[in-house]
């Protein structure tokens, strides 16, 4: 079933590889995705675009907070387009309200987390692609770790990648889930590789419900030893994957929590039947994931 071993890796792929080899095979080797668009992905992408436009307007074009936010709203509505969210709370009006709420909680002109300037531009929504000390099993070219920062900010004298998460609820344990999140340690590794030693990671969460919004911000110190440990483990994981690929090893399923995480693995149905091809042909399509473009590329 395997076709191509990935050249460009990102945190989504690493999380998938660690969670379940079968999930990784379906998602990042065969590039299978369920047909249709997830409301969470669509609304999240529109919200991210609005944050980007708002910040660039304020930090890059020196517009007022109110005008910058209005430009963000324009971008959000345009990006959301004619998408139908069904009964989801992430409807267009709620997303516009969420954006206004976000910047009422973190006002552009008084948020202690200030977007820094890199190479003469505000450090907002920029991609990185850093070669790894591992080579592709077929081509021999270096593998690359890629990602995209929502923003890089200065906070309390330290530099932090900042990531926004939209969610349906923010419980008391919301902030604790990020402590060991490889995605964020990887962002800190990337920033360090770019010559900007980070103090840690900031995760800003906003919950969007039909009747209210909430926010939380988590500051996660990320010392060098943690970054080093993440990098060693990550290289080991990929190296093992290369070994399995070269050996033509069987692709094993998780048979445990990964099957149900985040409201169930999108490939659970395929693992639940003897002949998954019929389901693949009917309910899935090939949509390659491009870590450098954030959104899934269409063939």
């Amino acid at each position: 079933m395997s076709s191509h071993f990935p050249v460009i890796w990102d945190s989504t792929m690493l999380a998938s590889l660690r969670a379940c080899r079968q999930q990784f095979e379906y998602s990042h080797v065969q590039h299978l995705k369920i047909k249709g668009t997830s409301v969470h992905l669509h609304a999240g992408a529109a919200f991210a675009k609005a944050l980007e436009v708002t910040r660039l307007s304020y930090y890059g074009e020196n517009r007022s907070p109110n005008e910058s936010l209005a430009r963000g709203v324009q971008a959000l509505i345009k990006e959301y387009g004619d998408f139908d969210p069904g009964s989801s709370a992430k409807s267009l009006d709620r997303m516009v309200g969420a954006l206004e709420f976000y910047f009422s909680e973190y006002p552009l002109d008084s948020d202690p987390a200030r977007v820094i300037t890199l190479a003469g531009k505000p450090a907002v929504e920029f991609s990185f692609a850093i070669p790894l000390p591992l080579n592709h099993p077929d081509s021999g070219e270096p593998l690359v770790l890629a990602g995209r920062f929502d923003a890089v900010v200065e906070f309390a004298g330290g530099i932090y990648p900042n990531d926004e998460k939209t969610t349906s609820s923010l419980g008391s344990s919301w902030s604790k889930q990020w402590e060991m999140r490889g995605q964020f340690v990887g962002y800190c590794w990337a920033l360090r590789e770019l010559g900007i030693p980070p103090a840690g990671m900031i995760v800003s969460g906003i919950s969007i419900l039909k009747t209210k919004y909430e926010q939380q911000r988590a500051i996660i110190p990320t010392p060098n030893w943690k970054i080093d440990a993440w990098f060693a483990d990550t290289m080991g994981e990929i190296e093992e994957a290369i070994g399995r690929y070269k050996a033509g090893a069987p692709i094993r399923k998780n048979w445990s929590e990964a099957c149900n995480a985040y409201g169930a693995c999108p490939y659970k149905q395929l693992c639940s039947v003897e002949d998954p091809q019929v389901w693949i042909d009917t309910y899935y399509e090939v949509r390659p994931w491009n870590p450098l473009k954030v959104v899934e590329a269409t063939p």
Partner: protein, 68 residues
């Protein structure tokens, strides 16, 4: 403007945007309506009136000093 009115108004903005007719003034009005609605909303979260302090995870005083 209640939630239903706000939803309808934003829907009109969506239609204008789809036709390429939405202006910056429309967007400013959307911000103002959302702000007004949030201010009047009966359901308020504690964080809506006062930003919650950020949560600092797994940090020793030594690490904190390094971060600062």
């Amino acid at each position: 403007m209640n939630q239903e009115e706000l939803r309808n108004w934003i829907e009109q903005m969506r239609q204008k945007a789809l036709r390429g007719e939405m202006t910056l003034d429309d967007a400013k009005a959307a911000v103002a309506y959302c702000r007004e609605h949030r201010g009047k909303s009966a359901v308020r979260t504690p964080s809506a009136s006062k930003p919650a302090a950020p949560k600092i995870l797994n940090v020793s005083s030594k690490d904190l000093l390094k971060g600062l």
